[in-house]
Structure formats: C-alpha cells, structure tokens
Amino acid sequence: MSCSDELKGYRGRARQRLGEWGVRVWSDVRVTNTAGSVFEGVILPRSETFDDLHLVLKLHNGYNVGVHVDRISTIEEIGYREAVYKIPEKEFPARPDLPKVTLLGTGGTIASRLDYRTGAVIPAFTPGELYGAVPELADLCNLTTKKIFGVFSENMSWPEYATLAGAIGEEIEAGADGIVIGHGTDTMGHTAAILSFMVQNLPVPVVLVGSQRSSDRPSSDAALNLIHAVRAAAYGDIAEVQICMFGPTSDRYALLHRGTRCRKMHSSYRSTFRTVGDTPLCLVSRDEFTILNGDYARRDSERQVRIDPTYDDRVTILYYYPGMKPDLVDALVDRGYRGIVIAGTGLGHVNKPLYPALERAVRAGVQVMMTVQTLWGYAQMYVYDTGRDLLDLGVVPLDNMLPETALMKLGWVLGHTDQHAEVKRLMQTPISHEITAREPHNGYLILQGGLPEVEDFITSHWK
C-alpha cells in the first residue's frame, strides 16, 4: 500500500499532523483532546470534499465523530483494523431448467456498497455479489453479468449508447432469454429511448432497471426492482426495450414502461417513472404479469435482432420560454448543430421574433423539430396561425413524441441522412410507438390531491 493510501482523503494540516503522529487510516487509536476527553476508535478515510482540519474516527460504538487536529493532545495507536468492505459473495447456483438472463452494468445503484473517499456508493455486480445481496434471483434464472461501463447515468452519452446497443446484440446472439440493464435513473429514459431505435426487431425483452433509494439502505427499492426486472426479462412476453421500476411507492409491484414513452417525473420518489400519453405496458408482481396495454411485440426467438448504432450527436433541445431571443438559435447554427428539437408551448408554439432565426436555421440545413413542453398531448400546428407560420418555415411537428425521445431519435436519424425530406419522413414514422395515433383517455391521469374522490382513492390504496 502506498503512503498516500495510508492517509486516504486527508489533506493539508490534518495530513501533516497524522504523519507526525505516525498513525494512518484504519489505525485503531486512543485520542485525548485538550479538554481531557478520550475517544477510542478507528481512523476512517476522509472525503476529499471535507475540510483539512479534522480527523474522522469511527468510535467503538459505531458512531463517527470529527476531532479537530489542533485539539488533539495525544494520540496512541492501539491496533489496526482495515475494513474489508464486501458484499458476501456466494456462488450463483446453476439451474439448467431456468431461463438465461444477462445483466449488463452501466453504473448506478442497483446493488452497491459505500465508498469512503467520496461517500458514494460503489456497485456490487458479479453474480456472486448479487446472489449474496438478493438471493431470490437464483430462483428465477441463470444469471450472467457483464460490466459495460461504470458511470453515473448523467455521464451516459452517445458513444455509450452505441456500445450498449452492440452488447445487447451480442448477448442475444449468445442465446440470452432476456436482458436486464442496470442503469442510473436520471437518464434512464433517454437510454431507453435511444435503445428503442438502435436495437430493433428484438426477439426477447430488454429491461432497464435502477433504484431510487440506493441499495446500501434497508428500505431500498433496488432488490425488488431487480427481482421484477429479472422476472420481466426471463419470463415476460414483451420483446421491446422497456423500463421496469416501482409502480407505487409501496413495495408492491413494478410497471413496465415502453422505452420511448417514459419519463422520470419526480427527483426522488420510488414511483418516479411514468408512461406519458398512454398506459404502461404491464404490471409485474412477484407472482404474475398483468398486461395493461396489449399493443406490443411478443417474445419470438425466431426474430433476428437488428443493431443500428449510427448517430450524430450534434443535436439539442431548445426549451422555449416567453421572451426567448433569436440569437440562441443563431448560436446553435453557428456552432454546427445539425438538429434542434424545440419543446414549444401549448400545441407547439414559439414567439414571432424567433421566426427569422428558425428560417435561417432551416435554410442552413439544420433540422428543426417541434414537440410540446406540456409532455401530454400533440403538437397540432394547424390550429393557430403561429403554428401554420412555423410549418411554412420548415419546422417539423412530431405529434406526441416526448421531447427527450425526439432528441434521441433525431440524433439517430441524422446518423443516417441529412436530407430534410428523409429526416422528416423518418422522424414522423414511428418505430416503437414514439408517436401514437391515438391518445387513450386514461393516458393522461394526474390526480390532484384534495379532491374528495381522489382522497377516497388514496386513503383506500397503498400509495
């Protein structure tokens, strides 16, 4: 172990004093401070984001305290106890009668352990580690795991999407009965959307899963989410890219959401993912599947998967707001962006001062798409003059495609063609229900608390 590791995370004055005292991280010490108080415990690594004045001790009763290094009068090493922080690893039992599921890891907190240095959680990932943490998985499938990358979901981007699409193709070729992708939840919707275009004609389910409460906590949704996702991959009938996360915040069931129609709607709730503009595909419990939307591609091992990971990442979303200046659009064109998805107001509108800039953009060959920032409902640009004017400028309305899905699709389409007519045709032709012909009346349900009938419902159902 190198010297720097021995003082992990300690900087400046604290580091200097630790060196003088000859103690290190994991030293079991007796510290006496200038007030005569005695602390006995193990020196823990310190987060690099904390100050350089305190020593962190894990007291023998389990509590941590910070002791100011200038208040320490004596420090005596009485032992050394390096933590072996590891999820108990047990060999994942092989059961020839069970389906084969591959778990592809991208990072995130589906199963994890703590990292002292940053206070972050590190994913636990091998089948053995997962079996130690979620033994129920062994009753469901034969599990293979592959770590594709270890990034937080906000760091997922186009190259990762392409790699992931390739990996899915390989696993299907290798005979997987279903694929689970462990993913951070922040951008899970984006990944699900792009995979819906890059991976087509799926014979088996591809299920993205994550957790809203990290798995280092007893109340975590991670284990149950993973169980549901593995069930959906191993036994589910829906051979599409889908997101599997808690339906309600209670530990009850998961919902399977179609990759192109799903959005994270709360920064921290367990039931954060919601299908927008349609019903979710399916309800998954520990014992059964309940199909909620019968319009899906069924599992069919004969089907040949098509991997098409082409992309152009010079695309962006312009979230329109009143008073937006046209120079924003000009700047995007100047910087070489090839596609702009506008999240417009109402039925798909922006203000008039933007028109010339949009016209310049279209003329420069930039593809300009229109979606709605209301998320629910269609861009219907024939209703008002403003809409018709925009159509005349060459802005392409995308009906009820979600803005993020439109961004992903536009990047993918631009990887194939630059021709406006062809881009327009491809964007307006749904591949995986990213545009739906009809919005069912139960596709828009945002219940409002306080209403008597809603209160009746929420008092009689677990949230």
Partner: protein
C-alpha cells in the same frame, strides 16, 4: 451465588432492597435517556414537530432488507428482523408528514435550532462538544423508521454530573430523529403511525455507574431535571423515555426499552437482575449436563398436526386456528406465514426439566422461548406454546401426551415444546427454540426487552451492535465553531444541583425545588430574584406552589411574559400589601397579558387603603354575630378577619386589620 429459592418473587420496594444483594450479584446499570427537543419543525424536514394525529389519509407498504455496515458486516439484529419477514404499513397524515418521512425525499439540512438545543443540553450535562458532527445511520429493521435507519449524531461526550456524593459519567449525547409510533403488530404485519417520526430528540447515555434500582430511579430523575432546566425540551406524555441497560456479573448487557417513568425502572431493574442470575444458574445446569457450547444443542421437530385433530386442546385444532384467522381477518402471505395449519413438536434431547427453570418472578424459561417465537416466528396467539413440563390437564390429556411422546421418540431425559400456526412459521419457531437454548449455554443473551407494567419484561429483539452503524451519505458533516458554543453557553441556567443547593439553603422544601426545576419555574424564580430584587422564598412559593393551583384551573399562566413578572414584583416592592392579593392579580394578569400589571392592580384598587376602612371594621366587629354562641377562643377573630379581608385584601395588610380587631374585641376575647 444466590439460588432461585432465595430470591423473592414479588417486587415491592420493601422486599427489593432487603432480600436481594445487588452488590453480590454485581449489578451494573447504565441509562439511555431520550428527551424530545422543543422545536417548531422536525430534524431533517420542515414538517411541524409535536403535532400528533389519530387519523390517517394515506398509507404505504414497505419491507426491510439488512445491509452491510461500513466495516462490511451484517448486524445480528438486522438478520433476525429480516427473518421475521414483516409487512410494514405506515399511516400518513398530510398535516404532519411529507415525502421525507415516507423515505421518498432525501433529508434537508439538519435543523439548526435542534442542534443548538442539543448543544445546550450537552453543556448542561458537562459534556465536551465534538468539533465536527457526523450524521450516522443506525439500522432499525423493525420498521419503526421507514428508511430502515435512524439518523443520529454524537454532539457531546465525556460529561460528568454530581450524583449522590460521587459523579455520574455521561458517555455521550446524540441528536437524533424520533421514530414512528406502533399502532399494531399482528403476525407478519406491523403498522406504524408516522406523526412522531423525525421529531428531534437527544439521547443521553450514561456509563454503567449505577448499582441499585433506587440509584437508577434517582439518576433518571436527575437527568430529567437537567434536561428540563433550560425550558427548551418537550414535556408531557412520551416526551421523555429511557432505555435501561442492566447486567450482573457473568451476565450481559440487556436493554429494557421505552421506560417512561423512573419508578417503573426501579422495579424493572430488580426483576432483570433476578432474571440474569437465574439464567446463569440455568447455564451452569446445562454445563453439568455436558451442554457447554451452542453446537451441543440439537433439536428435532415433527409435524404432529394429525395427533390433535380431535383434541380437547382446541388451540391445536385447525378449526380454532381458522376461527382466529377469520375473526382477525388475517390474510395468508400477509399477516400469516405460508403453508397450511400445522402443529409442530420440537424435541429437545437431554433438556428435561429446564423449560420450567424459573426466570422472572412467576415465569419460567418457557417464557423466554415464547418471547422469541412470538417475535421472530410471529406466532403471537396465546398461549404461544405448550410444553412437556406443564402439559394442560383435560380428559384425554394423558393419552394424547403419551402419543406425542411416542411419535417424537421422546425419552425421560428429553423435553418437548409444541407450537402451531402456518407451517412456515412453525418451522421458524422450532429453529428459534434451538437458538434460544444455544444462547442459554452461554448464560444471558444480549437482548432488547420490552417492559411490562408489573415490572417484568418480555423479549423484543436481539440487542443491536456497532455493526448497524454507517455514515449518512445524504448529509454533510458539520463543524461546530467554538464561538457558537460559547454563545449558547452564556445564557444557560445554572445546573439543577447548583439551584437545588441555593434553594435548599433558603429553606425551600425539596418537592417544591424539584417541581420548579422540572416545570421551568426556576428560570422565573431566578429572573425575578436577580433582576427584580424579589425575595427568593416568596418567588419559590409563588412559582413552585401557588401557580400550580391556578394552572390547574386552566388559567393561561404561561401567557404571562417575563417583563410582566418583573413588573409584578416591582409593584410588590412599592406596595407590599398587594402580596396578600397576589392570586387575584395573577389571575387578572393571565386574562390580560398585554396590560401593565400596575394598571391592573389600580383597576382592582389594590395597594390603597379605602377611605373609612377602620370605621367599617369596627362596625363589623360590633354588629356581626356568630351563628353559634359558644365559639372557641380565636374563632370569632378569624370569622371577623374573613369578613373584613374579603373587601380589604391587597389594600390593607392583614396584620393591621387583625390589630384593629384585637383592639376592638379586647375583653370580649
């Protein structure tokens, strides 16, 4: 060592102290005193603190899984509680919980007011304040906190307070969030109300310095007085509770949880000392039989449902089980474990006679077994078990019991425990019987026990260890600057023992002193004495005795501001006679807290002798007659005083009136 026969079964104060030698047993007791802090908001969110509801307008269903501690180990309690497979329901009310309590929103920054009050409490307890507060997560898988852990942080360490001529060591003081209130616990379903969840409290941990039940009671009262002396903590039902940690020589620390009254603790400590001594006797007996290690305990269990299908022992028949389930609406896979109704016999080789080994007064080792079965196997029907050393008596009792012995191949040296319920749960129960006996080979297991009103205790859970602690990655550590601490120290009231000494020297009765400190009246006493020049004894009498009665009448005494009290004593300074009408004046002050007490006194004509009062008193003395003739000496005087003072109290001193009357009555007396 004491034998069971020596130990008294009842727990009255008299027998406690005389018949059990705590010193010989090596009794050691430490306390964890929980005290809610008086803040507007909760500790980690902005919900109102102290708003309790009995209704709910939403609920959540959750489960808990054990996780690794920072040092990479599973905690024993955590694993035990995972075995119970509890369905946990949280009842929510919009008025007092938000999505933080539901564990659907991360914590907001620590409530600074709560931290200030915690620091004050530490200073009052003579603690050293830590330099940097680190918030930890302490796992609780019983569901009492929806996250599965309590957020808690050490604020002070190494305190000392004077106690019975020596010092009581305060090991540490932590600031933590309060837990949910239990609504019901039935089979595999436990229901919690979330209103109390997240309220700030401090836990004061003492060293195991206490040696008798009486000392425990005194120490609880003392810490309570220290806590309340700042007036910044909550009072009333549930605002303070203590866990009492008890051990005897050769035994182990056992935590008796949630003791709300100091006097109750006394009885509980006594009983626990006895229980531990007796468990050590049982250990010795097991060792004599060659059962020295946990691995030496072997059990065998059998499904014996068929033996009892027509038994008079109705509990063991499927129909009565079904009736219980129907009556309570228990759902399979929810309140109930999996599998059909089963009666399971657990044979315990070589353990004959040990089930009826006495433990607590009136209880035997069977109660220890029943506790674990009730909690961990969730077989909570009564009785929890039958056993071979006290098989119930009924017509076919002997025949059925013999059949049971044959079926289980039970020999004369063996014992049998019978449990019943859903099959899965009976198998768990059999394993728990084995584990409890395995623990018995080692004496006293580390346990958390729940107190019963009669001073006995029942199993609650295995005592958690340090493995359940890990850092809260959602909350940054907080540096406590010396300036902040000194700012908080400056206005602190003197320690209760300092006040107690001062008040006692002035001749104030002990009960009054305690009341003043407990109820915060001492602060007002010191205020009016130090700043208003009031007489200490008068102030103590007013705030410690008289106001009690007025408060009981529902007058808003606590609405009277400090400045009004100072003014009250200022008025007394110039018109001492008003003291005699103090109750009247205080009553009016409580009714008009915004009006100057001087004005109120004037409006009542206090402090000024009314014109012609002497004449009226004299006339009264001459004309009034007692309604019976042969009054004892002084009776007439008192009667007349009463009549006169009715009008003159607070205007003319009683002394002056009395003198006048004496003069007038003269020879008549």
């Amino acid at each position: 060592m004491l034998t069971s026969a020596d130990v008294p079964l009842d727990v009255t104060r008299r027998t406690m102290s005389t018949a059990f030698d705590y010193a010989a047993a090596g009794l050691k007791v430490g306390l964890e005193v929980h005290q809610q802090l008086l803040t507007q908001e909760k500790l980690f969110c902005r919900c109102p603190a102290g708003m309790y509801t009995s209704q709910h307008d939403g609920s959540v269903l959750r489960h808990m899984r054990p996780t690794l501690s920072e040092l990479g180990e599973y905690d024993g309690t955590a694993l035990m509680e995972f075995k119970t497979k509890k369905n946990i329901i949280y009842l929510l009310h919009e008025s007092n919980v938000c999505t933080y309590e539901m564990d659907d929103t991360p914590p907001f920054l620590l409530n600074p007011r709560a931290l200030d009050i915690a620091i004050e409490q530490c200073l009052m307890l003579g603690c050293d304040i830590v330099d940097e507060v680190h918030i930890a997560r302490k796992q609780y898988l019983d569901g009492s906190i929806p996250t599965g852990f309590q957020r808690t942080a050490v604020v002070g360490v190494a305190g000392r307070i004077p106690f019975q001529g020596r010092e009581l060591t305060i090991t540490q003081v932590t600031l933590e969030e309060d837990s949910c209130r239990e609504v019901s616990d039935r089979g595999h379903l436990i229901v919690w109300r979330t209103d109390r969840l997240g309220m700030p409290l401090i836990e004061t941990v003492t060293a195991p310095d206490l040696r008798t039940p009486e000392e425990v009671e005194e120490a609880i009262l003392l810490i309570g007085r220290v806590c309340r002396s700042t007036g910044h903590v909550r009072v009333g039902i549930g605002a303070s509770r203590q866990d009492v940690n008890v051990s005897v020589t050769g035994g182990r620390r056992v935590e008796i949880k949630g003791v709300s009254k100091a006097g109750w603790a006394r009885k509980l400590v006594h009983t626990e000392a006895i229980r531990q001594v007796r468990l050590l006797e049982l250990r010795d007996e097991l060792h004599r039989r060659g059962l020295t290690r946990p691995a030496d305990i072997g059990i065998e269990h059998f499904d014996v449902t068929d033996l009892f299908v027509a038994s008079e022992l109705s509990q063991l028949r499927r129909e009565s089980w079904q009736r219980l389930i129907d009556e309570e609406g228990r759902r399979p896979g929810f309140e109930l474990g999996r599998g059909p109704f089963s009666v399971r016999a657990v044979r315990l080789p070589g353990l004959a006679g040990t089930i009826s080994h006495p433990t607590q007064p009136g209880l035997t080792f069977a109660h220890e077994l029943a506790g674990r079965i009730r909690v961990i196997a969730t077989l909570d029907q009564q009785p929890t078990l039958f056993h071979s050393e006290k098989w119930p008596d009924y017509a076919e009792s002997r025949v059925e019991f013999d059949r049971l012995l044959r079926r289980t191949a039970c020999g004369p040296d063996d014992a049998i425990v019978v449990v019943w319920g859903a099959e899965e749960d009976t198998v768990t129960a059999a394993e728990e019987v084995r584990i409890r006996y395995a623990d018995a080979t080692d004496g006293v297991p580390h346990e958390t026990r729940q107190p019963l009103p009669d001073g006995r205790t029942d199993f609650e859970r295995i005592l958690p260890g340090p493995d359940r602690m890990y850092p809260d990655t959602d909350s940054p550590p907080q540096r406590l600057m010396p300036e902040r601490i000194e700012q908080l120290r400056a206005p602190l009231p003197p320690a209760p023992w300092v006040r107690e000494g001062r008040y006692a020297a002035a001749g104030i009765p002990r009960s009054t002193i305690r009341y003043l400190i407990r109820r915060g009246g001492a602060r007002l006493v010191d205020l009016v004495v130090n700043e208003g020049g009031a007489d200490l004894r008068r102030a103590c009498f007013l705030f410690g005795e008289e106001l009690k009665a007025l408060r009981r009448r529902g007058l808003g005494i606590d609405r009277i501001a400090d400045a009004q009290w100072l003014r009250f004593f200022e008025i007394l300074e110039s018109s001492p006679v008003i003291w005699e009408a103090r109750s009247r004046l205080v009553e009016v002050m409580a009714g008009s807290p915004a009006t100057d007490p001087g004005e109120l006194a004037s409006s009542l004509d206090l402090g000024n002798a009314p014109e012609g009062w002497r004449e009226r008193v004299v006339s009264l003395a001459r004309t009034s007659v007692l309604d019976h003739s042969n009054g004892r000496p002084g009776q007439r005087l008192r009667f007349l005083m009463g009549l006169a003072m009715y009008e003159l109290r607070g205007k003319v001193s009683a002394h002056a009136v009395e003198n006048l009357l004496l003069e007038e009555l003269g020879g008549a007396q």
